[in-house]
Symmetry: C2
Subunit: 254 residues, 2 copies
């Protein structure tokens, strides 16, 4: 895909693009400020599902980023919308920190909906979900990311647990976060912008770049966060551009 020279909107992944853990990626804070000053629409799309949006935004502000709650779309929000629009009674397999935003699990669930429970992916929680899936319930996953970069190295993301339940129960999950087209469309719709008028900046070649480009949005892969050199030579996905980091990625739009 070709990069629009003057995009109306910039969609931005958070972890690995703006920050790693509680550290800003070099140059990202002033770069975001400069990008914002151009008046372009901004939306932040994250597949992080261990933390509620309000906490994510507070952390980003504490690091030094200017960011508003309404600019952030999260995979748990996408899951809540999906459950509501499909009339599902969810069994939530999620991190306790996001549970209050989602409500209680139904005593008679019609779907298993999972986020990144991290340390709360206990055998008991997985087995409960497995039994529901084996009895015929569908599996909705907020994301299926393979790993993310923490300050101490690559860390297992929820995709492993999605793949595990899929294998054991013989089901295929519906993913509602990135790379789902509806998730990117929701971001564009909230800005009133068409796909060819936007770009997506991310460190995940499949979920950020592959997902955006499948939705008609040019993707810029950055060489930070979970990026690994082989990501530049992906079998199927060719990013519209590859840049060293977020600051380098947005310079053409200033």
């Amino acid at each position: 895909m070709h990069l629009p020279p003057n995009p109306k909107a910039v969609l931005i992944d958070l972890a690995g693009v703006l920050h790693v853990g509680d550290e800003a990626i070099a140059g990202a804070i002033p770069a975001l400020r400069a990008l914002r000053a151009t008046g372009r629409g901004l939306r932040f799309l994250t597949n992080t599902t261990r933390t509620p949006r309000s906490t994510l935004v507070q952390r980003l502000r504490a690091i030094g980023f200017e960011i508003e709650d309404d600019e952030v779309l999260t995979a748990p929000m996408a899951a809540r919308d999906y459950v509501r629009s499909h009339g599902l009674a969810p069994h939530w397999l999620v991190h306790p920190d996001i549970a209050p935003d989602l409500g209680a699990s139904s005593p008679n669930p019609t779907a298993v909906v999972m986020g990144d429970a991290g340390p709360y992916f206990t055998f008991e929680a997985m087995n409960t979900a497995f039994r529901l899936l084996a009895s015929g319930l569908p599996l909705i996953a907020m994301a299926r990311n393979r790993y993310f970069r923490e300050t101490d190295g690559l860390t297992l993301d929820m995709g492993a647990y999605v793949a595990g339940l899929e294998f054991a129960a013989g089901v295929t999950a519906t993913v509602v976060g990135k790379p789902a087209q509806a998730y990117f469309e929701a971001a564009l719709s909230s800005l009133g912008v068409a796909p060819h008028e936007a770009v997506m900046i991310g460190d995940d070649v499949t979920d950020d770049i592959g997902g955006a480009q499948a939705a008609g949005i040019a993707g810029i892969l950055v060489r930070t966060g979970k990026f690994r050199p082989q990501d530049e030579h992906h079998d199927v996905i060719t990013p519209a551009a590859v840049e060293d980091d977020f600051a380098a990625a947005i310079i053409p739009f200033l």
Copy 2:
């Protein structure tokens, strides 16, 4: 495949065929006694990897089965043999109950070797294994069973965790328990019997029956344990016979 009318050896899965939890499957205790009286060679092949062989055998005896330690081949034994014959330094991701039989993990491992850790599949243990795999180590799995039947229902087996690590790290596990051909061959070799002179009785259409038949051994699927009606109509695997239970399966050999 055709069932040999007068097999020299009978290979038998344990959980779901002879017993479920601490209960014998109806008729299995006298059936095994009668089969043993025919003088045929017997080997028990189990993918259970949460429990050491000595404990498995004690439990079976407590239930009422006549069974000797030497007749039982376990997936952890197969893993130990594989590690030794391939000169690997293992990082063991296993249940603490079988750890003493396997020895300590190497401080400089050259392979991740996993069993069914069950409740000990903590996020931390999974993440440690993931990081080793992401750094290039191969993955050896004792089994990749999807589930087994406990007294209170189907229960998640280690396959979910194998599939999860495979997905996250982009690797493919080598399985050393059933359905690995070498595992069935080790059983035959210990009896000095050729594949066409043996039968395998199991409740798992892929690992027991598919594995045995790939090794040239006719498989008898029983409708107990994890058996589900759709297993009789598997896409690829056609058991040499399907019988209601172990007792029905061995009657022709008495």
